[in-house]
């Protein structure tokens, strides 16, 4: 372990040099901050390994080993960083070389080393530093509600739903439409879709908000462009078996059946399976009537309730983090208009990141949506990083 510490001490000045000599642009100072965080993590690693007992006898050793294992990629990145820096220094020394060919070679080499160093610091290392999100593995519950625009909004809702089902299919998530209400004049009034699979929530959560469409409705003879909206709410899906029971106590949930049933029992054979749950402390209510059995409706309603409560918990945690430090992490305001689908101009714009894709059909029918999601996830990762840096 001594050798590690000596090596670490030796390269420290390099970091300082890097920080001071290049700290001209804001991105350089950001890079310096990133490297300071990495240094801290490497120090922690060093401490951990020095605390390991020789014979691995203590039970704390297991935990330390696990932590060391987890931070191995950080060590690898650090090693690569120091190696690249060293090579850079060596090539810089060759700038003074008497041989012209050698000088040219050194210049070329220096350029390529700088490029790798930059990408290491600005993208690879940050991705390792960002703490894994607790919601990484969660599935999602997608709720679509038609907004302004009458039937046209319902028609657009059906388009959006197809878009999400297609995305889920290509990401190999499993979907099931929990409930769906058709609109008399075509389209879908509202729908609830379960999207099961690793990363479904992490990807889809950025879809929460108001989606706006501008197009000439198929039903509009005059050819006038209408604007209508659909509200999308994406909730984390919590399986019954997850440790979600802490989310609520059964005593806090009022379960009601929706209709009077007269004498009931053998006297009546009408299907009356609608169920409504009320979570008394939060006032959240969930109604479910799409299944033919009360038991199934109740289960589904509980799934939705768990999702809502989980969502509440997540936003509460974000708010708390925000309160404790000046966080830049944005919470999704669900009434916020997040995206516009403009048919006449064949373009889709995401207003949060100011990204426009000039190919509407690729968003609705191809990979365009994934591009938006990637950009939004990247944007989010950056703000988390910003947040982390400002907390240092």
């Amino acid at each position: 372990m001594l050798s590690l510490s000596r090596r670490w001490l030796r390269i420290t000045p390099a970091v300082c040099r890097f920080a001071s000599s290049h700290a001209h642009s804001p991105s350089d100072s950001k890079n310096a901050r990133i490297m300071r965080i990495l240094e801290k993590r490497i120090e922690e690693r060093k401490r951990l390994s020095s605390e390991l007992s020789h014979d691995m006898s203590s039970s704390a050793d297991i935990i330390r080993l696990k932590q060391l294992k987890e931070s191995e990629p950080l060590q690898a990145a650090w090693d690569e960083y120091t190696r690249t820096r060293q090579l850079l220094d060596e090539t810089t020394a060759l700038f003074e070389d008497s041989d012209e060919a050698m000088r040219a070679l050194a210049l070329e080499e220096h350029q390529s080393l700088s490029t790798s160093l930059t990408s290491l610091i600005s993208s690879h290392i940050p991705s390792l530093l960002i703490p894994p999100s607790p919601t990484t593995h969660l599935s999602a519950m997608l709720e679509l509600k038609s907004g302004v625009g009458g039937s046209e909004s319902s028609l657009f809702l059906a388009d959006l739903m197809r878009m999400y089902l297609r995305l889920a299919n290509s990401r190999r998530w499993h979907t099931s439409v929990v409930s769906q209400n058709e609109n008399e004049g075509g389209g879908i009034k509202d729908a609830l879709v379960e999207v099961k699979g690793d990363g479904a929530y992490e990807a889809l959560r950025w879809e929460s908000g108001v989606h706006r469409v501008q197009r000439v409705p198929a039903t509009e003879a005059s050819g006038r462009v209408h604007t209508s909206t659909v509200a999308v709410i994406v909730l984390p899906l919590v399986e019954e078996t997850d440790s979600a029971d802490a989310l609520f106590s059964m005593d806090d949930v009022k379960i009601e059946v929706m209709r009077a049933r007269g004498a009931g029992g053998q006297h009546v054979n009408k299907t009356e399976s609608a169920v409504r749950l009320t979570h008394i402390p939060t006032g959240i209510t969930v109604s479910m009537q799409d299944e033919r059995s009360q038991h199934q409706n109740k289960r589904r309603a509980f799934t939705v309730l768990r999702s809502r409560l989980m969502d509440l918990k997540i936003s509460r945690e974000i708010a708390e983090r925000r309160a404790t430090r000046q966080s830049l992490v944005r919470t999704a305001d669900r009434s916020e208009k997040i995206r516009t689908y403009n048919y006449a101009q064949e373009r889709v714009t995401d207003h949060r990141i100011g990204l426009t894709l000039k190919n509407l059909s690729s968003v609705l029918e191809g990979d365009g949506l994934q591009d938006f999601i990637d950009a939004l996830q990247k944007d989010h990762a950056e703000s988390v990083l910003e947040d982390m840096l400002s907390a240092e």
Partner: protein, 283 residues
């Protein structure tokens, strides 16, 4: 097309129910003509469950076929609650008798919900059609019959069913009945004569009157059950008798169990609609 079918259904069911039922029929119909036929049958008053041929019951999906009584949500509710309250394990397996088993819904759901190898159930019914359906349902749910030679331990929960008449005073002598039992369940016919006349057509025109009629007062079968419970060695000490009752019969049935079956510990469970629905007698 769909809107025409919807309006046909809505006249008899109201708009909300019509929309739901049409959706369920659409999910099942293989072609438009079949959907139209389903809607026509429904608008004439045939129960949805017979048209679709099945009814979910807890996590099970049971077959339904006229004239066998369609499992009711009230029954589903108390059976799930009974499963929650029953402690059975493969090391102390329990034996259950279901009187008037109909579709087999009560014992089959209990078999499904309780730990495997902890429950052996037997259903009795006077109707051969009910018996056939109950056995088919057991097969559909993957619940096997118990191996003959009752001493053998089963690794699974089991269901068997035989023809029988539990109003018969000699019922307990029947060779297929194997007392003592730890649990008796029964949803007996409980509709009294005067209420039978006021039942909706979807009940009287399609479901077996023998499954509904409980004699002049609706209480005949409870007296027969009290008689059985009182017989020596018919049920084990510590056993429980769970009886579904009509909307205003809980007090009467509780009294019958106390006075005629000499049970001191009784309990009444309400259904989700607030009606007193199940009388429990603890022995």
């Amino acid at each position: 097309m769909a809107s025409k079918l919807l309006s046909i259904l809505a006249t008899s069911l109201g708009p909300t129910q019509a929309r739901l039922e049409l959706k369920w029929m659409q999910q099942q119909a293989r072609h438009p003509a079949q959907l139209t036929e389903m809607v026509t049958r429904r608008s004439r008053g045939e129960p949805l469950q017979y048209i679709l041929g099945s009814q979910p019951f807890g996590p099970l999906n049971l077959l339904t076929r006229p004239p066998v009584l369609i499992p009711r949500p009230e029954t589903e509710h108390w059976v799930i609650k009974l499963a929650d309250r029953t402690s059975a394990s493969p090391t102390s397996p329990k034996s259950l008798l279901d009187l008037g088993t109909g579709s087999g819904c009560i014992p089959l759901l209990l078999c499904h919900l309780l730990p495997q190898g902890s429950l052996r159930t037997h259903g009795v019914d006077i109707s051969p059609q009910a018996l056939d359906l109950a056995k088919e349902n057991a097969a559909v749910c993957g619940i096997p019959p118990s191996s003959p030679g009752s001493c053998a331990r089963n690794t699974r929960n089991t269901f068997t069913a035989t023809l029988g008449n539990f109003l018969d005073p000699m019922f307990s002598e029947d060779a297929t009945i194997d007392p003592p039992y730890d649990i008796i369940t029964c949803n007996p016919p409980y509709i009294p004569w005067h209420e039978y006349l006021k039942l909706p057509r979807s009940v009287t025109a399609y479901e077996d009157p023998k499954a509904l009629f409980g004699g002049p007062t609706g209480l005949d079968f409870y007296h027969a059950i009290a008689h059985l419970v009182r017989q020596t060695n018919f049920i084990r000490p510590g056993a429980v008798v769970a009886l579904e009752v009509g909307h205003n019969q809980a007090q009467d049935v509780e009294r019958i169990m106390r006075v005629h079956a000499h049970v001191r510990d009784t309990e009444i469970w309400p259904d989700p609609w607030g009606k007193q629905r199940t009388v429990l007698a603890h022995l």
